[in-house]
Amino acid sequence: MTAPLLSPHLADEQLDDYVDGMLESSAHVAARAHLADCTDCASRLEELRALLALAAAERVPVEPPAELWPLVVASTVAWPQLRRRVLRELRAPLAAVAVAFVFLSVATTMWMGSWSAAGSGGTPAISAYVAEDASFDHALAARDHEHGPVSRERIAELRATLATADDGIRRAPDDEALYRALAERERVLAEIRAVLGRSPRPPRAPTLGR
């Protein structure tokens, strides 16, 4: 483990290894023989042993500062209790905040829904189309007589076409069918207005409400 003895005296490292029992057996025997004869090295060995004894004597408890235990309590024992107390104290405010949040969410959703309906331009429901078509039907019926300006066959044909268009609006299974039915209705109304002498109006956007 340690280099052979080249100096007449033991090096400090060799003395360290000697007291630590780290020398190989032959080196240990040689060092012991040298220490028996050399008062200088024996004195250094005594000095080292005194130092080791002093160091070992250092292994004594040291009075900790008074603040250590309160610090330990604060970061161990008191911490879970403090956490529980904070959570308990925050429970009511947190519940109130949650309720308020839910309430605001519902109110906002309802308001957005109504705003959306209003924001779509107040498109009349299908009932408005049906009522308007009924007025056209009445107007056609009023002209259904023998000496009127329009033949009775033509009026009957227009009324039947209008009824079919109305029926298409009422029975539309989806938005796509509704759009098609409304377009057909606009075409029929244009024919009726031409017969009744009313000017055709521009088509309106269909509504999704029924």
């Binding site: 400090d12 130092l51 408890p61 500062p65 309590v73 161990t76």
Partner: protein, 174 residues
């Protein structure tokens, strides 16, 4: 006090156990931290960490007759871990290797004086040498145990120990 602070019976029992450990071994724990760091403020912080660690692992300690050795090991690990973290933080700071001479010490010097000078000399050792010296010559760990704790070779531990002892001898001879 602890029972008053804590709420449940089980928590009070656990807290009382920690208090018992503290009053039995705080001096040893603080001593290890102080000798390894050479700084009372730092040693107080580290001793606090030691008891926090002990609190977390309290259930692992079945036999309290071994609590002293167990806490000693925890303290050593806490100090070494803190030292590693600080060394990474202060990687560019060069250690101070020179030691200012102390009052000469002989076997005839009264023991309290010798111990005071020894503690002062240990505080002045370069950090790595002091850690190895304290772990070996004061705390009594073997070369291999220290090598394992520090993550270095056993030969490096011996070299640091030789260096620390040489510096200690030179200081105390001066």
């Amino acid at each position: 006090v602890v029972a008053a602070i804590t709420g449940s019976h089980a928590a009070a029992g656990r807290a009382a156990r920690l208090e018992r450990l503290y009053h039995s071994h705080a001096g040893r724990v603080f001593g290890i931290c102080l000798r390894m760091t050479g700084d009372r403020v730092r040693a107080t912080e580290l001793a606090q960490d030691v008891f926090v660690r002990a609190w977390e692992k309290l259930d692992l300690l079945r036999d309290e007759t071994n609590a002293g050795a167990w806490l000693g090991r925890v303290a050593t690990n806490v100090v070494l871990n803190a030292r590693r973290a600080e060394r990474r933080r202060w990687a560019r700071v060069e250690p101070v290797d020179d030691l200012a001479p102390l009052a000469p010490v002989s076997l005839h010097t009264p023991l309290p004086v010798r111990r005071m000078d020894l503690a002062t000399a240990m505080d002045r050792l370069p950090e790595r040498a002091r850690v190895v010296y304290v772990l070996h010559d004061v705390e009594g760990y073997s070369h291999n145990e220290i090598a394992s704790m520090l993550g270095i070779a056993s030969g490096t531990v011996r070299a640091q120990l030789h260096r620390a002892r040489r510096l200690m001898r030179e200081t105390l001879r001066a």
